[in-house]
């Protein structure tokens, strides 16, 4: 078996150091080495989006990347977006608009959606659907997911306007 590598990551603002095999996938490093289990394994093959994290400012499916490739990166997972006592607007919106059923896709959905709204703060419904097309949900039929994201976008925007 190959030699272990020293890996450094900043995850949700905290510096993490650990040993890993270079071939270990980022998702397994997060889940098994760091016990960050919000990002889920849905397909292992970069098609479902359940494992989505934000890596150096981009949405990344963490099953698509070796942990060695991520060395030195800054990563945000669902755990870094909000907590049960302090929900992010998107989290609140998914909860209120029933944008989830079994919840397995939800961390990946919300993590992707936070980036989507940064990339495009005022998306149309069409743009939301396109922007979320890499994240699969088997339960909801997506209707309420799209609704949750659009509602969060308008909430964020009206809060911004109020602040200006």
């Amino acid at each position: 078996m190959s030699d272990k590598m020293h890996i450094k990551l900043t995850v949700n603002g905290e510096d993490k150091e650990f040993l890993a095999e270079p071939r270990d996938l980022l998702i397994y490093a997060l889940r098994e080495k760091l016990n960050i289990t919000g990002p889920h394994v849905g397909c292992d093959t970069s098609h479902c989006g359940a494992c989505t994290v934000t890596l150096n400012g981009k949405s990344v499916k963490s099953c698509t990347m070796f942990v060695a490739q991520a060395n030195g990166a800054e990563i945000t997972t669902i755990e870094g977006i909000g907590s049960p006592d302090a929900l992010h607007v998107l989290q609140e919106s998914f909860k209120e608009h029933h944008g989830l059923q079994c919840g397995f896709c939800t961390p990946g959905m919300i993590t992707r959606a936070t980036k989507l709204l940064e990339e495009n703060p005022t998306p149309t419904e069409e743009e939301v659907r396109f922007g979320m097309a890499g994240n699969i949900c088997r339960c909801t039929g997506y209707q309420n997911i799209v609704k949750s994201i659009l509602a969060a976008a308008s909430e964020i925007n009206s809060a911004k306007e109020a602040a200006e």
């Binding site: 078996m1 270990d24 397994y28 889940r31 098994e32 016990n35 289990t37 919000g38 990002p39 889920h40 394994v41 849905g42 397909c43 292992d44 093959t45 098609h47 479902c48 359940a50 997972t77 669902i78 755990e79 977006i81 909000g82 907590s83 049960p84 929900l87 998107l90 989290q91 609140e92 998914f94 909860k95 209120e96 029933h98 989830l100 059923q101 079994c102 919840g103 397995f104 896709c105 939800t106 961390p107 919300i110 939301v128 659907r129 396109f130 979320m132 097309a133 994240n135 699969i136 949900c137 088997r138 339960c139 909801t140 039929g141 997506y142 209707q143 309420n144 997911i145 799209v146």
Partner: protein, 757 residues
């Protein structure tokens, strides 16, 4: 009152923060072993020799099991004991587990499982419905046949005779969380099992059997699943049994999770069906006689195929009165994965048969398909013309579909848009539109009558908080919240007072699978019974005129907080814990004769879909869908609408993009989301209007609600019918579009209709 409120999912806060735990998220003890199966490479034959040296030598591997190393046959079957955990030397399908590897990590186990060297002597495999039907390979001594009246003479005497064949594919569940289990050995050989299962009691039963220990030595806990859809009714058995075997042999915890490819390759899916039909109608399109031959591909083991195929037979009528009918059902045994439960449980397949027939009649007679459907409807409670009896003898006495369909057709401008689509098709040679409106009538109850029972356990603590447990499992459908709403309403307390704990065989025993859409019907009633027992005890103790409302107990007009009341009862030595039990009334069913009352009631709904196809490529889109669905007096409209939307999209996926392809060796070629396409966010209809029917269950169910898990799945049928309507616009031949209607199939159908090839 909490019931009828649109409260969010009970775990919503945990889901949105990634803190809701699934089996794979439970922290594992450091010495935990991880398991994987070595799979067969052929579909049929016997094993000549096995060399597992490389497997044993692989890094991290601690031990390897073959069938002979197991404590028993470790049968995994939910029905007739025909599924040994590991091959006994015979191979029945490609992907069958042959050996079991335990290693120190998931990846190490998976890696090692690929290194087995197995020599086979292959035998010819039966893979398709045609193969198995011709070879007479089926389960049961004879096909099951149910008849009412005399179908053949009625068809012979009819003005029009229409016949055809419909093929429909299976469907992979693709629960986003793949199958998973973890077992921790306990004192004295007891086992604690965490399983992603819809049926904890079954897991308990199978684990106990595998280890030859009593059921009391096995405790199964299921907090939630990342989706189930029927795929976790029996398919989790193999994982839990494997973990238990390894835990018993090594004394170490063991965990197993299928990666997605293994999940596709090993586990059962929806049954694919071929339905051959022959019907005779009068001039209006009304059916006078009908014959159906239903061929179900069941795979290598029986699993739940008998009740599935029965349910297909029971939904042959859907919303239509069939005065003379003969249904013949063959349960074909093939060398493929053992087909299993999937949302609708055979109902969708049976229903699709008659919906195709309706369109075929309409085409032959040159009528509007909706008009043909309506003329065949059951009687409404008002129009008593003797058309109320189903082929199996159960009366349909609350047929709301006539009214519901009228409302939907009005609301969505069915006639105007049908006219507009026709005009569009006149002038557009390439893009063709189609529109269809199809109804759903779905029978609610397990057809195995004894499964229609449930238990609950409720504790009121002295601080007034309430803990609730029942036999149902949470897979996203919102069952826990609905049941908590029932409890909150019974005690008149806010929903936050109630905590629902993981489903646990140690708390409520002998439960049925959370299946057949029965979760809230059964468990809601059991919880109500338990709550009422405690409430009555409290009331008797507290005074004469007692009410539970607004977080208080009102005794003779003066309110005391619920917590205070609980404390007083506790101090007066009143028991604040109770079990509840419920069994569905009025059921009486004989599957041999196909007569009786298998269902407590029916759930109804209808969908209208409009699509557009590109006749040069077969590409297609759903432009608009309108749905009205009957959930009775909904316990929670937001959760119910979520079920309707999700069910429709999943149903539409089954009939359009989700295609399972086995090659001629029996290898499932579409074994990952790269090749098996489930609907994505961008596939949703452009316009999607969903509402609930404003009504009540006429039967005495929990707060007069209706089950909503499975019925909306069949609303997806409207999409297939709309696609065939669009194909039909290309010529005069009937577009007998099969499912799934992939672009390739649509293109072929267009060519057939347009050019006769």
């Amino acid at each position: 009152m909490s019931v009828t409120k649109p409260l969010p999912h009970d775990s919503a806060k945990l889901h949105v923060t990634g803190t809701a735990r699934y089996v794979d998220d439970i922290p594992v003890p450091a010495d935990c072993l991880h398991l994987a199966f070595g799979l067969s490479d052929i579909a049929c034959g016997s094993i000549q020799s096995i060399n597992l040296d490389a497997v044993r030598a692989a890094p991290g591997v601690t031990s390897v099991w073959l069938a002979g190393d197991l404590p028993t046959d470790c049968d995994c079957s939910p029905s007739v004991h025909d599924e040994p955990l590991l091959s006994d030397g015979q191979i029945h399908y490609l992907g069958q587990p042959v050996f079991l590897v335990a290693a120190t990590s998931h990846t190490a186990a998976r890696h090692a499982a690929r290194l087995g060297q197995i020599e086979y002597s292959p035998e010819p495999a039966l893979l398709t419905i045609e193969d198995a039907y011709l070879a007479g390979s089926q389960f049961g001594d004879a096909p099951r046949i149910w008849e009412r009246g005399t179908a053949a003479p009625a068809i012979y005497a009819a003005a029009h005779v229409i016949e055809g064949v419909l093929d429909m594919g299976g469907q992979e569940h693709f629960y986003l969380e793949s199958q998973a289990a973890m077992v921790m050995p306990q004192d004295g050989g007891d086992m604690l099992v965490h399983s992603s299962t819809q049926h904890p009691s079954e897991i308990q039963h199978k684990v106990a059997h595998a280890l030859d220990i009593p059921m009391h030595a096995v405790q199964v806990e299921t907090r939630r699943m990342g989706g189930g859809f029927g795929g976790k009714e029996s398919q989790g058995n193999a994982l839990a049994i494997s973990c238990a075997v390894v835990a018993a042999a090594t004394g170490r915890p063991a965990k197993m999770r299928y990666d997605r490819d293994d999940d596709f390759t090993i586990t059962g899916k929806r049954h694919d069906f071929q339905i051959r039909y022959r019907v005779g109608t009068d001039e209006s399109g009304r059916i006078e006689g009908a014959e159906f031959l239903q061929l179900a591909r069941c795979g290598w083991a029986q699993d739940l195929s008998f009740p599935v195929a029965d349910r297909a037979m029971l939904h042959t009528d859907n919303a239509y009165f069939l005065p003379n009918v003969r249904i013949e059902s063959h349960r074909l045994k093939t060398n493929t994965q053992s087909a299993t439960a999937f949302r609708g449980f055979g109902g969708p397949q049976g229903m699709l048969g008659i919906e195709r027939v309706m369109d075929h009649i309409a085409h032959t007679l040159g009528q509007d398909p909706l008009a043909v459907r309506r003329v065949n409807f059951y009687d409404t409670p008002e129009t008593q013309s003797g058309r109320t009896s189903t082929p199996y003898g159960q009366e349909v006495d609350d047929f709301v579909l006539d009214e519901l369909v009228t409302k939907l057709a009005d609301q969505c401008d069915y006639s105007i848009r049908r006219e507009a689509a026709a005009q569009w098709n006149e002038t557009n040679p390439v893009l063709k539109r189609g529109i269809a409106l199809t109804p759903v009538k779905f029978g609610i109850s397990f057809t195995l009558t004894h499964l229609n029972q449930a238990g609950a356990l409720v504790h009121v603590y002295q601080d007034g908080s309430i803990q609730l447990n029942h036999g149902g499992t949470e897979m996203g459908q919102g069952l826990f919240q609905k049941v908590a709403q029932v409890a909150a309403s019974r005690f008149g307390v806010p929903i936050e007072t109630i905590k629902i704990t993981a489903t646990d065989t140690g708390k409520v025993p002998n439960t049925s699978a959370t299946a057949a859409s029965s979760g809230s019907d059964l468990n809601g009633m059991a919880v109500k019974a338990a709550c009422d027992t405690i409430r009555d005890r409290m009331a008797t103790h507290l005074g004469k005129n007692v009410q539970f409302e607004g977080g208080s107990v009102v005794v003779d007009g003066s309110a005391i907080p619920f917590a205070e009341a609980a404390k007083r009862c506790y101090e007066s030595r009143i028991s604040l814990s109770a079990t509840g039990f419920y069994k569905t009334p009025k059921l009486e069913w004989n599957p041999e004769t196909g007569q009786g009352r298998p269902f407590f009631y029916f759930a109804y709904g209808a969908a209208c879909s409009e699509v557009v196809i590109d006749t040069l490529t077969g590409e297609n889109r759903i432009l608009r869908t309108d749905i009205i669905h009957d959930a009775g007096a909904s316990l929670n409209p937001v959760l119910d609408i979520g079920q309707v939307e999700g069910g429709f999209v999943q149903g539409a996926g089954w009939l359009t993009t989700e295609e399972l392809i086995w090659d001629d060796k029996g290898r499932l070629r579409t074994h990952a989301p790269s090749t098996y396409k489930i609907p994505a966010c961008s596939d949703r209809p452009d316009i999607f209007n969903v509402s609930l029917w404003d009504g009540q269950n006429t039967e005495d169910t929990i707060y007069r609600s209706k089950a909503v898990g499975e019925p909306p799945f069949m609303l997806g049928i409207a999409v297939l019918m709309a696609l065939s309507d669009a194909v039909g616009a290309c010529g005069d031949i009937y577009a007998d579009l099969n499912a799934p209607a992939t672009p390739e199939r649509i293109l072929k159908a267009v060519q057939k209709v347009r050019d006769g090839i």
